[in-house]
Structures are given as C-alpha cells and as structure tokens.
Symmetry: C2
Subunit: 228 residues, 2 copies
DNA sequence: TCACCAACTGACCATCGGTCAGTTAATGAC
DNA sequence: GTCATTAACTGACCGATGGTCAGTTGGTGA
C-alpha cells in the first residue's frame, strides 16, 4: 500500500511548489501586489487548489517566514565550534543574520511585519505559536553566547542575560530597519554591518566597564524593583 | 471678502475631522480592517468626499503619522534646557519617546510599518519626502545630544556621531518592536523602559571605555544587573 | 467496466478602494 | 425675489481580489 505514502509525498511536493512560487513573487513585489491567482499560476494550479493547502494568503506569507527562520537556525548550528571569544561570536552571529535576512531583502521585511502585526493577521493559533517559538529559539542564541561568555570569564557573572539579549537583538534589528528606511541602496549592507558591529562592541565594553559614579541604573532600578 | 478665508478654514476643519476620525479607527483596529466608508461615517461625510481631501487610504494613515511625529518634536523642544548630562538626556529622550509612541500603541506600529514599507505605499513623492525629512529631524536629536556631550567633555571628541546616533535609535526601536512581539501586555512598558535605559547606559560606557586589548578581565562591576 | 474518492477546477460571491456624473446650497449680481 | 455660478458633496458604480463550493477529473482496485 505505497499508495497512501505516494499521495502524501505528492501533496507535500505541491505544498512546497506553492511556497516556492509564492516566495519568488513576494520577494519581488511585497505582500499586497501579489495575488493568490498569480501564485496559483506560477505553481501551475488553480486558485481554488491553493486553499486546499493553506487557509489564507497571510498563512502562506507566514509559512515562508517560518521555513526561512528554520533554515537560518540550522545555518548557525555550528557557531560554537569555532572556539572564538563570546564577543566575536556575537559579532559573527550578527553578520550571518544580516547576510541571511538581507540577502533577500524582503525577508527582513516579512520578519518585522510579522512581529509588528501578529495579532491582526488572524492565523490559526497553532501556526502563530509555532512562529513565536521558532523566533524565540533564534533570539535565545544570543543569550547562550552571553552565558558562554560568562562561563569563560569574559563577562561578569552578575550580568543580566535576558536584558542584554534583548538589547543586542533590538540593536541589530533596529539598525537594519533604520537603514532600510533612510540608507541609499548602495553600500547599505556594508554600513549596516559596520554600525552593528561597533554597536555590539560598545555594549560589550559597557557591560564589562565599571559603572561610573553614583548615577546609572541604580537610580532607576531603585524605583523599579518589582519582584514577581 | 472673508468668504475665501472662511471657506479655507472650514475645509481645514473638515480635513482635521477626517484625520481625527481615522486616527480613532486605525488605533482601534489597525490598518486593513478600517474601511474608508467607516472613516467617512465617523467624520459625517460620504466616502467620495474623503477623496476630496486625501488621495488614498495610505495617505490618511501617513498624515496621522506625520502630525504625530511633529507633535513629538514639539514635545522635546525644551529638552536641552534642563542642564543635565548628555547621558541623562539620552535616557530622558528615550523615555519620552517610549511614552509617546506607546501611549497609543498603534502609533509605534504605524511608524515602523511606514519605515519598512515606504516604497510599496506609493504616496505622492512630496508627502514621502516630508515624512522622511521629519523623521530624520527627530533622529538627529540624538546626534545633537551626542555633540552636546562631546562639547562638555563627557564623550571623547573622536567619537563617531552618526554611527552612535544610529546605534541608539536602533536599540530603542528594536527593543520596543521585540517587546511588542513577545512581551505580555502586563508591565510591557516598564520592561521596555528598563531595557532601553540599561542598553543606552551600556553603549555610553562602552563609548567612553578604552578600547583596550582584545579581552579584558573584568569582574569589577556588573552591567545590566540581574533584578529579575 | 464500474464505483469510489482525493485532488482539482473555475465560476461565483462579498468586500472594498477608488471614480465620477450629477445634486445641493451658499453667494452675489441684477 | 430670481437666477447663474461654483465649491462642496454624494452615492451608485466599477474593477480587483480574497475566499468558497458545487461539480469535474482521473487514478485505483473490485
């Protein structure tokens, strides 16, 4: 009864074909200008068939993001093998990230758009959770590097891992967003890389450097003490 | 002869009324779910009339952003009067920014959406330029603060103003984006504020700290202390 | 040869952004 | 008071598009 099996495989292939077609189109034109009809044509199916595989245009968009994030995650699997310092690992990660999400520049847009509009996208709850989980897994790599840095005595053991993870991630994605907006096409990636690298190195130096004087987080932290 | 004048004023009022109505609706539901018809109803006009004042739904959306950015800009006009350190000014600016753009949390979304999708929005070229210019004006406030810090000897005169401006802006907006995505509603703003403040202080410390050798033993102090 | 059924189709529907020919009403000339 | 002018406004209409579903197709096994 290899029939069932073959059917399953063929169905999976169709699905992949749709995603491939959609990917090409979305990366070419963005979200709105791509019609479901055009995706269907490119995948050599009818519009109706698309909806046998996906529930909405938004879901296709999200699935593309999902599989790309997973690809990225695989790509950084061997990051720790190199035996570099944690600082260099952070910069290295950032560079890979920039290459990956800006290689197809629309991909970064998809990522941010999703992050900003998750709620309005009304996707099936499960898919939503899946993307959030996958994204978090990626973000947590930053935290792992910090932990690694603490372990090898590079960073102070008292550092706040979560907070610094958020700072690095924010810095990285914020700088990319800014440059997509203002930067001219030419040499954009180069500038992003330089800015991100220097930003990360500054944060790290600041993390290591002694806190100057009485000012600083102390003042604010005093009021914001909020143990759960 | 006050006729011409009165007409002009009334027209301006209508325009404002449309923007007010649209603002309420967009902030309530996001972009797509708001129909032009519903804006018209709320503004007590017909759909057709809306298009006497604006060229597209996107343009309305953008105008809201524009007028809000300008409001923000006025709000920080007196930032320099306080005589604080440049570091504190940066943190202060960030806090005002967070309050402002998260007070109506949709506003931040509008800002980022615009930055990410400027090109696909096909607005009149002039409006586009206007928003870019206004946004840049806001971003450049960060640079001014850095300059102020250099002038008063707080930061090294060799520092790269533009780069650090981009780092701070990126950090600020990236952290906000991240928290809108993952953070639970409760205590979100508080967390954002804490993370941003510490991030900024780290960058500043890193900016001041000697670049020193590859890795420096630390342990002396803890940036981003764990307050959980 | 036929019954079954998963996969597929495309006509159809509802919604919505945007248009435009026609209406309304304020004004000012006579 | 009457009428011509015209800016402001209206809403029926159009085209595009996301999504649906009743019906068709073709491979399979009896």
């Amino acid at each position: 009864m290899g029939l069932e099996e073959r059917r399953r495989r063929e169905k999976e292939n169709r699905r992949a074909a749709i995603l491939r077609a959609a990917r090409k189109l979305f990366f070419e034109k963005g979200f709105k200008p791509v019609t479901v009809e055009s995706i269907a044509q490119k995948a050599e199916l009818s519009k109706g068939s698309i909806y046998l595989y996906f529930n909405s245009k938004e879901e296709i968009y999200t699935q593309i993001l999902l599989s790309d994030i997973e690809k990225f995650h695989k790509g950084i699997a061997d990051l720790f093998r190199t035996g570099e310092t944690a600082s260099d690992l952070l910069v290295e990660l950032a560079k890979i990230y920039i290459n990956f999400f800006l290689g197809d520049k629309e991909l970064f847009r998809i990522l941010m758009t999703f992050m900003l509009h998750t709620e309005h996208m009304n996707l099936p709850e499960e898919l939503n959770r899946h993307v959030v989980k996958t994204t978090n897994k990626t973000i947590s790599v930053i935290e792992k590097i910090f932990q690694y840095g603490v372990d090898r005595g590079e960073f102070p053991p008292t550092m706040n891992l979560r907070l610094n993870r958020d700072v690095i991630w924010g810095l990285l994605n914020g700088i990319i967003s800014l440059h997509l907006f203002t930067g001219f096409e030419a040499r954009r990636e180069e500038r992003i890389r330089a800015t991100v690298e220097e930003g990360i190195r500054e944060v790290i130096r600041g993390l290591i450097a002694p806190e100057a004087g009485a000012e600083g987080p102390m003042k604010a932290a005093a009021g914001g003490r909020t143990d759960r």
